[in-house]
């Protein structure tokens, strides 16, 4: 693995990050492709030379690469999480409830970078409802009929309802 290859990889990862994408070996054409061991060595060596490169675990066990120059860890986590939609939704809702003090509109997951279809989203919500480890994920509906999700670990239901109403209706009426 020459320096030229490492540089090419670093540049490639950065280009992908600029476009809002993670880079993994799956992005390369089928042949030629490095074997798993060689790939690991290449990634390690490249990261050592280019410390802006980060790796994040993907649901299939592989790793996705991004450059922190162009992509934040939070965004990378969303991209990496798309392989496990229920977990992604749960994490997003919990993080927003805790640090942003905000419930999350369902529509967020239909847009980029989540890009769930309505059917996928519905299935996802059904799974979350069944899962005993995610009973903190609750919903509230605003006067405009918009559905918001929040985590009861971080937001009381009254608070979540008021915040959802504020975000969905109130803010636009208080320009």
């Amino acid at each position: 693995m020459t320096g030229e290859v490492r540089t090419a990889l670093a540049d490639c990862v950065r280009a992908f990050s600029r476009e809002g994408r993670l880079f993994s070996p799956a992005e390369l054409p089928a042949t030629p492709r490095a074997g798993a061991g060689e790939w690991r060595a290449l990634v390690d060596a490249t990261q050592a030379e280019h410390p802006d490169l980060r790796e994040i675990a993907l649901p299939d066990g592989s790793g996705g690469l991004y450059s922190e120059r162009f992509m934040t860890a939070s965004y990378a986590r969303i991209l990496a999480g798309r392989g496990n939609p229920p977990a992604l939704v749960v994490e997003t809702v919990r993080v927003q409830s805790r640090s942003q003090t905000r419930p999350v509109p369902l529509s967020l997951f239909e847009g980029p970078p989540f890009d769930f279809s309505p059917a996928d989203l519905a299935a996802c919500l059904a799974r979350i409802a069944e899962d005993p480890s995610t009973t903190d994920i609750a919903r509230t509906v605003t006067s405009a009929g918009t559905v918001f999700l929040y985590s009861t670990r971080h937001l009381q239901s009254d608070h979540a309802a008021a915040l959802a109403e504020w975000v969905d209706v109130g803010q636009a009426e208080n320009p």
Binding site: T101, L108, D158, A162, E173
Partner: protein
């Protein structure tokens, strides 16, 4: 002494009664109050007798901008319009409106920092201001025309580069709920005062220049620095959806740029995002007021952003909605920002396809077309909320009489048909009928006319009425005690955004709290939204800071809908902005080096001047009891929850008493009355003000 930079140097004075036009040196009288509202308050203090009413010829109307207007300082372009406010109830007092567009810059290039209009012309006139000169011109040919055609006529006279501040039929007819509009969509209240003076418009075109005292290199560096800290509209610094470059995102932020959200009516369409914050060439794509207020459908109708001279934000949205041309006979293109976009749609309780659908957008287009041509004001949307309440509670049926009531197509109204607006708005402008006449007075006078106690309005949380005929404007729904304090201080709705720009900027509460330590002394200055905690001195400091910075921006020609810039989108700065941006730009532009503290002192002087004007105008020093009032709904509106529990914005009376105590203490005002002490007037160089107030027995 070197001529300072920034200021144009002259104030124009036009007496419409005598036709006399004269100029004064800005520095002679107004240096210590900078410009904008500062000049307005000074003129009113010195020259307009107590007891003057808005439509008396003794009333004046002051159009004033500040030393940063017309320069490349980001987010400038603002003109303050100060006058005795026609909708201020029960007794008109001094208040200011603010308009953007190109007027402020052109006035500066023409060589003027302000225009003081006095007296009354005996027939319709308009004022033409060109380089260093002004002329009173006959306006019979445009009197009666809408703002659109009158602007066109004046532009043909003065050339396409003129900025024209114009009233429509509403102002001509002295409808108190009327505005002055320049540059298509930029409005300020006070239209009726111009109408009462028979002044149709002020057209201004300048080819001069503004000197920048600092070197071009220093100035360029300062501007780029400021631009690097700028967020989206209202200085929101976090995008509303996850973006690759962003650590945080927050639904409800005005930073709406994202992939897949295009200026859909640009030709060809333009995608907006992602707008990485270091890419200063993409600042204009970050915000889209139409999408924010009218919903995601507005993206496909968005042509581009628009706004004031020199501002990169473009908080006005130009919309092209082809359907409205055939359906309503109005141009397919229209533009405005928040209040203007909401104008038409807020009249209706609901639309057939929901509140953010196609019909709502059409209502927005019809509303802008009518209101911005007739020149009608909406009192920060209280007009629309009053209208709904009057209708749905059956009050109109009683007050209008059968014949007039039947002349409105209420079925259309209830259905949410935007064409209903053609029945209402032109009649308001023409004072045609009881409904139009009453609504056009402004809420305080409407209630008085119809024998409705103001107290009933003060109990209705959904209405958001505050006091003296005007609504809340970013009060407790936004920023708890800080917002309430701010809303007590003015003689119309408080046009202050310093606090809300911060609380709504999208940063997590921990980050906001970290910044609050530096800004106001403690993390306790800010609460999470709708989870307020009891009052503390740091919240009082935030309220004082908010108000002072509002007056500072209004006097410098900067936009308080964007500033201050104390948070930024930059992670490498810990999302910190710069609390001294105003002092940096002011010092460089003018050559008058003032630290942040010194400039804030000047702002305090201006703010206190407004207080003195209010005290003198009301004839009482007991501001606390008589003026700084808080409506019942703030304390009782949400009976289901106790104050300081999560999920309510309900405030506590004792806590707000403490809040005012602390706020007055921060300003050095008397705790009992909320009146500035003689010592505070002296500290601020307002001894003449103190002397006159003492003569009137209005000091403590």
């Amino acid at each position: 002494m070197t001529t300072p930079g920034g200021w144009a140097g002259k104030v124009l004075r036009v007496d419409l009664s005598t036709g006399r036009i004269s100029t004064e040196e800005t520095a002679d009288k107004y240096r210590d109050v900078l410009g904008g509202t500062g000049i307005g308050y000074q003129v009113f203090w010195d020259e307009v007798p107590v007891g003057t009413r808005p439509f008396d010829s003794a009333n004046k109307i002051v159009f004033a901008t500040g030393p940063l207007a017309g320069t490349g300082a980001p987010c400038n372009g603002r003109t303050a319009v100060t006058t005795l406010w026609p909708t201020c109830w029960p007794k008109p007092l001094v208040a200011s409106g603010h308009m953007g567009g190109h007027f402020a810059a052109e006035l500066k290039y023409a060589g003027f920092d302000a225009v003081i209009v006095e007296g009354r012309a005996d027939k319709p006139v308009w004022l033409s201001i060109t380089d260093g000169q002004a002329r009173i011109r006959r306006a019979e040919h445009i009197w009666g025309e809408g703002i659109r055609r009158a602007t066109y006529a004046i532009s043909r006279d003065m050339g396409p580069e003129a900025a024209v501040a114009c009233i429509g039929p509403a102002g001509e007819n002295q409808v108190p709920m009327s505005v002055i509009i320049n540059s298509v969509s930029h409005s300020a209240g006070g239209g009726a005062v111009m109408g009462s003076k028979n002044l149709k418009a002020i057209g201004v075109h300048g080819t001069g220049s503004i000197r920048i005292a600092g070197s071009p290199e220093e100035w360029e560096k300062a501007i780029k620095y400021h631009l690097s800290l700028i967020g989206a509209n209202n200085q929101h610094v976090v995008p509303d959806s996850p973006q690759p470059w962003a650590e945080f995102s927050s639904t409800g932020s005005r930073w709406v740029a994202a992939r897949g959200r295009p200026w859909g009516a640009a030709n060809p369409p333009l995608d907006t995002g992602p707008c990485e914050p270091h890419r200063l060439n993409r600042i204009a794509y970050r915000s889209n007021s139409a999408a924010y207020f009218l919903g995601p459908q507005a993206w496909k109708y968005t042509v581009r952003g628009n706004g004031c001279t020199g501002c990169p934000i473009r908080c006005h949205t130009v919309l092209k909605v082809p359907a409205v041309a055939a359906k309503y006979g109005i141009p397919e293109t229209g533009q405005n920002t928040c209040g203007g976009l909401n104008f038409g749609r807020q009249f209706f309780r609901k639309f057939p396809d929901g509140n953010r659908g196609q019909t709502a957008i059409e209502a927005a287009m019809v509303g802008m077309h009518l209101a911005d041509d007739l020149g009608i004001w909406n009192n920060y949307q209280l007009l629309q909320r009053d209208f709904q309440k009057f209708y749905y509670e059956g009050i109109l049926k009683v007050k209008l009489g059968q014949q007039e009531y039947g002349s409105y197509d209420w079925e259309r109204y209830e259905k949410g048909d935007p064409s209903f607006l053609f029945q209402v708005l032109p009649r308001i402008a023409a004072k045609d009928g009881e409904l139009a006449t009453a609504l056009g007075l402004g809420t305080g006078y409407t209630l008085e006319r119809w024998g409705i106690p103001e107290a009933t309005w003060k109990k209705d949380a959904a209405l958001g009425y505050w006091k003296m005929g005007h609504p809340k404007h970013h009060s407790n729904e936004d920023s708890g005690q800080c917002g309430v304090i701010i809303n007590t201080q003015y003689n119309r709705d408080a046009q202050c955004h310093s606090h809300t720009n911060f609380t709504r900027n999208g940063l997590p509460i921990e980050v906001q709290r970290r910044l609050a330590v530096e800004l106001w002394g403690s993390a306790e200055a800010v609460d999470p939204a709708m989870a307020y905690t009891p009052m503390n001195v740091h919240k009082a400091r935030m309220a004082k800071w908010s108000l002072l910075r509002k007056e500072l921006h209004d006097s410098l020609g900067l936009c308080n809908w964007m500033g201050p810039w104390v948070a930024s989108p930059l992670r490498e700065r810990g999302y910190r902005g710069d609390n001294s941006i105003e002092s940096l730009l002011y010092s460089l532009a003018t050559g008058d080096r003032k630290t942040r503290e010194e400039l804030d002192l000047t702002a305090e002087r201006i703010f206190t001047f407004h207080r003195a004007l209010t005290i003198r105008g009301m004839g009482t020093r007991d501001m606390r009891a008589q003026h700084d009032t808080i409506p019942d709904w703030v304390f009782e509106g949400d009976a289901s929850k106790a104050p300081f529990s999560a999920g309510t914005i309900r405030m506590d009376r004792d806590d707000m008493r403490t809040a005012l105590d602390m706020f007055y203490a921060e300003l050095g005002w008397d705790r009992r009355t909320g009146s500035p002490t003689v010592e505070s007037y002296r500290r601020l160089g307002l001894e003449p003000v103190a002397r006159e107030l003492r003569r009137r027995d209005l000091t403590v």
